[in-house]
Amino acid sequence: MATDVVSERIVTPASSAPRADSAQWAGPPRHRVAALAADVVQWTLLGAFSLLFLYPFVWLLSASLKPRGEIFDNRLIPLTVVWDNYVEVFNQLPLLSWMANSVVIALLSAGLMTISSSLVAFGFAYFRFPGKAWLFRLLLASMMLPGAVTLIPNYLIWRYLGWLGTSVPLWGAALFGSGFYIFLMRQFYLSLPKELFEAARVDGCSALGLFTRIAFPLALPASVIVFIFEFQASWNNFTGPLIYLNSTGVENFTVPLGIAHAMSVYSPTNGGHGDYQYVMVASLLVTLPMIAVFAFGQRYFVEGVASVGVKG
């Protein structure tokens, strides 16, 4: 117990803790100096890595502000700053339509995925029915299936249903839940006390009521993980729109597919007209929402990712 207290203070010293306080846990002065030196070395290393990892973002911002002729001049700070790029990009590219498409698809995907995965997870967590264990094993096994194997027949299925060239294939699959999310939600539902449901049942609550009134509201934090993960996956998805939307009009593209299109049009190596700064502006604008999502839901991301590891 005593070591717990000590280690807790070491891991999370209150930021306002006075320095004198540290003498209590850091032991003899010699150790304190060694520990401080180790910290400084580690901070330096982490700082260097962080700078390295942030550099492409800074470069993206810088290149998005450069005029046409200077985009490839390899200067970190633009010689001429053209704020107008951020206005002009909307005249050059149908970026507004792309964004609207991306938002609609991502919201539909994330919303439907959250509901369907929650429903299925509750079915697996709460009810007893023949073949449940067997079906759940099947669900886990299906998570390991590489997407390449079902890519072509899925395309043919959507084609058969007449939805090629629409955005339906990009969010339709979310209606059916997904192995990883179902697994995650089921873990959460299993942790809810069963008495809660029994009490509600005695009071005459229906099976659906158990879900909508008790399970789903209580599992909201886990649902947020599913929503955020799926929103990000859909927003960043490139292969899907490439397969299902590429043959339609440019204005039907999502932002990632649109940027890939713009890269071809503006890439000077391909005889394009070199206005690569618009690609940079669009790339920055497609990244910003993800950074905002991360800033808002960082806790959920780290929890969600960690829960995968615990399972592994």
């Binding site: 390899n74 099976a207 991360f294």
Partner: protein, 327 residues
């Protein structure tokens, strides 16, 4: 419509476990309330329908396709036996793309693991500010692949890219990342390493789960920091390391986005052969040449390769990975 298939397949799937139970008569037959069972099946029905359509029917169709010549215009499937598989094996581009993919896996998986491990250890050891650094290092993982490719196209430029400018500063000759065939794969590896944050967070979570008492007890017994790392930390986090290796290998075998965006986005033919990964070639065959039969055969070959490699990893993993509480 596929609804009829779905219902029939659903009936088959839910029936099939019962013979298995009959074969084990000694097990007490569980009593199920039919109302509860019905509710359960209704709750999981979205997944059941999706699984039957997009996995069972899909995989069956894919297998059938791989033995046929599919005409997209008429939708007619002509059986051709093993011809597609023969074509796959004989196609020199399949061999090239497979070798490219293997080289990429061998380069990227270990490098990503080492970098993720170094960063996770640093984050775990540092006593303050790990939250901030973790956020900064994870941000690239949030970035859409297209934005990553767009900015790395500038950074990796062989003549005036920022990465070569840095290398020159240290007196190193910068390679032609995007046009020299020898540097094409490393350039995609570098892009991948920028997104190391996912593996890093997984390993960090595992490191945080190593009980402190174990480390302290070993230290009291006189174990040095190296001994503690290899005798305690490594075995305790080995399941996560194993998971990261398996998942990253499967992902690397299917690498597509980055290679496609950097080299094949406008379908031009002057892309270096060194960038032709299996996933890219499969995509070209399926959605640019519309050789669905051949592409389906390629997909099944990839599936078998992935299964084989994962199975080998599992075998090695079972001998080396330490599972707490035994398994």
């Amino acid at each position: 419509m596929s609804a009829a298939h779905t219902v029939r397949a659903a009936a088959e799937l839910t029936d099939s476990p019962q013979p298995a139970r009959r074969r084990r008569p000694r097990k007490v037959r569980e009593k199920y309330s039919w109302r509860e069972s019905l509710a359960g099946y209704l709750f999981i029905s979205p997944w059941l329908i999706g699984f039957l359509t997009f996995t069972v029917i899909s995989m069956t169709w894919s297998l059938v396709l791989s033995f046929t010549d599919y005409n997209l215009a008429t939708g007619r499937q002509t059986p051709v036996g093993f011809e597609n598989y023969a074509l796959v094996v004989e196609d020199p581009k399949v061999v090239t793309s497979l070798l490219n993919t293997f080289v990429f896996v061998v380069l990227s998986v270990p490098l990503e693991l080492v970098l993720a491990m170094v960063l996770a250890l640093l984050l775990n050891n540092v006593r303050r500010g790990s939250g901030l650094f973790r956020t900064l290092l994870y941000l690239p993982k949030m970035t859409p692949a297209v934005a990553t490719a767009a900015v790395f196209l500038l950074l990796l430029n062989g003549n005036d890219g920022a990465i070569n400018a840095v290398l020159e500063f240290f007196g190193l000759p910068g390679p032609q990342w995007l046009s020299d065939p020898d540097w094409v794969k490393p350039s995609i590896v570098v892009m991948g390493l920028w997104g190391v944050g996912g593996s890093m967070v997984l390993l960090l979570a595992a490191l945080r789960n190593v009980p402190r008492e174990l480390q302290e007890a070993a230290a009291v017994d006189g174990a040095g920091s190296a001994a503690r790392f290899f005798r305690i930390t490594v075995p305790m986090i080995s399941p996560t390391v194993f998971f990261v290796v398996v998942v990253n290998t499967i992902a690397a075998l299917q690498v597509f986005d980055q290679a496609y965006l950097l080299f094949y986005r406008d379908g031009n033919s002057n892309a270096p052969d060194a960038a032709l990964f299996y996933g890219v070639y499969l995509f070209q065959q399926a959605f640019q040449q519309f050789n669905f039969g051949l592409a389906a055969a390629m997909a099944w070959l990839l599936f078998v390769i992935i299964l084989g490699i994962t199975a080998v990893q599992m075998l090695v993993g079972n001998r080396t990975v330490h599972y707490e509480g035994g398994r």
